[in-house]
C-alpha cells in the first residue's frame, strides 16, 4: 500500500500539467472537500471554487481553482478545471485589487451591478489570497 502512488493530470483550456508519484490529492467537491488516496474506487465529481492540495512524498503543492470536474480511474486522477493557478503563481496584487473591486460593487448595491457576478468575483479573490498566503506561511 505504502508504495502505491497516483498519477495526476491537471487540464485546463490554457495548460496541461502532469504529475507522477502523487501520494494524495484533495479537492473541493460540490458536496464538500474530499481526498483521493491510491486505490480509490472509480469516481467522478463536480468541483467548486476552492483549493486543490497535491501531496508528494516530500512536499505539497497547492492550487487555486474556480471549479471543474475530477475523475479517478485506476489510480489516475484527472482534473478538468476551468482555471487553475499554482500557489506560487498567484498575483497577490491582482487578487487584492479584485477583492477591493468586488467589495465595492457589493456595497454600492446599485441596480446595474450583477450581484451574482460580484459575489463570485469576491469568492475567487478570497480563495486566491488564502492559497497564496498558505505558501508564504510554509516558506
Amino acid at each position: 500500500m505504502a508504495d502505491k502512488r497516483l498519477r495526476l493530470e491537471i487540464v485546463t483550456p490554457q495548460r496541461h500539467l502532469a504529475y507522477e508519484e502523487v501520494v494524495s490529492c484533495s479537492a473541493p467537491g460540490v458536496l464538500g472537500y474530499f481526498q483521493i488516496l491510491p486505490d480509490h474506487t472509480e469516481f467522478v465529481s463536480e468541483l467548486t471554487i476552492g483549493e486543490i492540495k497535491v501531496e508528494f512524498s516530500d512536499h505539497t503543492k497547492f492550487f487555486a481553482t474556480t471549479g471543474g470536474f475530477l475523475e479517478v480511474v485506476n489510480n489516475r486522477v484527472l482534473l478538468l478545471l476551468e482555471a487553475c493557478e499554482a500557489a506560487e503563481e498567484i498575483d497577490i496584487d491582482r487578487a487584492l485589487r479584485a477583492l477591493e473591486r468586488a467589495k465595492r460593487r457589493l456595497q454600492e448595491q446599485s441596480p446595474d451591478v450583477d450581484l451574482m457576478r460580484a459575489r463570485a468575483a469576491l469568492l475567487r479573490a478570497t480563495n486566491r489570497l488564502k492559497i497564496a498566503q498558505k505558501l508564504s506561511l510554509a516558506v
Binding site: V11, Q14, H16, V30, L31, F43, V44, E46, E71, L80
Partner: protein, 290 residues
C-alpha cells in the same frame, strides 16, 4: 515586342505586389504561431472533457437530458466555419465546397446554414440557402465569449426543435501546410461505440453529486469547449493556409520578375543593335554618295 518602358513599368508593379505578399506572409506567420499555441493548449482539455462525457453517456441507461435526445433529422443545421478574409489559397473554397456537398446529402430534408466567418456568409447569402444566424468578423480577435455565444445559439435552436441535427463543418489544423476538412455532429451528442477492450472503459463510477446533475453541469461546458476548439482550429488553419498561399505568390512574383528582366535586357540589346546598324547604314550611305 513590348516597349522598354512598358516592361519596366510591369517589373515595378510586380515588385510592389511581391512586397505586399511577402509582408502578408510574415504577418500570417506571426499570427500562426500564436494561433498554434492556443490550439495546442486547448486541445487536451477539449479531448478530455469529450472523453469524460462519453464515459458518462455510455453509462446512462435512459438519458433524460434533452441535449441527448436523438430525433429523426427533419431539420439539419450546418455550421460552416470559414475565414473572415480571403487571400488564403483554397481554404475558403474547400470548406464551402464541402458544406454544399453536405447540404446536398440532406437534399430531401430541411437544411439551414449558420455561417461563422464572413466568407462563408457571403457565399451562402447570395445563393438559395436557408440561413440561420451568422457570426462574422470575430476571427480578428477570437475570444471564448464568441464560442459561448455560438454554442448558446445552437443549443437554443436544438432545444426549440428548430434543428434536429447540428453538424459542424470546419478546417482542422494539422500542420502549417496541411488542413483537414472535418465534418462533425455537434448535437445531439453521439454515443460512441466502445469496441473490443472498450468494456474496460465502462467502469462503474461513483458520482458526486448524481449522474444526472453531473451531466447537466458538464454538457454546456463540453459544448462551449467544442465550439471554442473548432474556432481555434479553423483560425490556425486559416493562418497556415494564408502563409502558404502568400509564400507561393511571393515565389511566383519572383519568377515573373526574373522573366521580365530577361525580356527587358533582350529588348534593350535589340534596340541598341538596331541603332548601331542604323548609324552604320547611314554612314555607308553617306560614304557611297560622296
Amino acid at each position: 515586342m513590348a516597349t522598354l518602358r512598358e516592361i519596366k513599368r510591369r517589373i515595378g508593379s510586380i515588385k510592389s505586389t511581391q512586397q505586399i505578399t511577402r509582408a502578408m506572409k510574415m504577418v500570417a506567420a506571426a499570427k500562426l504561431r500564436r494561433a498554434q499555441e492556443n490550439i495546442f493548449a486547448a486541445r487536451p482539455y477539449a479531448y478530455k472533457i469529450d472523453e469524460l462525457i462519453q464515459h458518462l453517456v455510455a453509462k446512462i441507461e435512459n438519458p433524460t437530458d434533452p441535449l441527448l435526445e436523438s430525433r429523426e433529422p427533419e431539420r439539419v443545421m450546418l455550421v460552416v466555419v470559414t475565414a473572415d478574409r480571403g487571400l488564403c489559397g483554397s481554404f475558403n473554397s474547400n470548406i464551402i465546397r464541402k458544406a454544399t456537398q453536405e447540404a446536398e446529402r440532406y437534399r430531401d430534408r430541411e437544411v439551414s446554414i449558420v455561417s461563422v466567418g464572413r466568407k462563408g456568409y457571403d457565399f451562402f447569402r447570395k445563393r438559395n440557402y436557408q440561413l440561420g444566424r451568422e457570426f462574422i468578423n470575430l476571427f480578428n480577435n477570437v475570444q471564448y465569449q464568441h464560442a459561448q455565444a455560438i454554442a448558446e445559439y445552437l443549443i437554443e435552436e436544438f432545444l426549440a426543435c428548430r434543428a434536429d441535427r447540428i453538424i459542424l463543418v470546419y478546417n482542422e489544423f494539422k500542420s502549417v501546410i496541411q488542413q483537414n476538412l472535418k465534418v462533425e455532429q455537434f448535437l445531439p451528442l453521439r454515443k460512441r461505440e466502445f469496441e473490443g477492450e472498450g468494456s474496460g472503459n465502462l467502469v462503474d463510477y461513483i458520482y458526486e453529486p448524481s449522474q444526472e446533475a453531473l451531466l447537466k453541469a458538464l454538457l454546456p461546458k463540453h459544448l462551449n469547449m467544442q465550439v471554442w476548439r473548432v474556432l481555434l482550429e479553423s483560425y490556425a488553419a486559416e493562418q497556415g493556409a494564408r502563409m502558404a498561399a502568400m509564400e507561393n505568390a511571393t515565389e511566383n512574383a519572383g519568377e515573373l520578375i526574373h522573366d521580365l528582366t530577361l525580356l527587358f535586357n533582350k529588348a534593350r540589346q535589340a534596340a541598341i543593335t538596331k541603332e548601331i546598324s542604323e548609324i552604320v547604314g547611314g554612314a555607308e550611305a553617306l560614304k557611297s554618295a560622296s
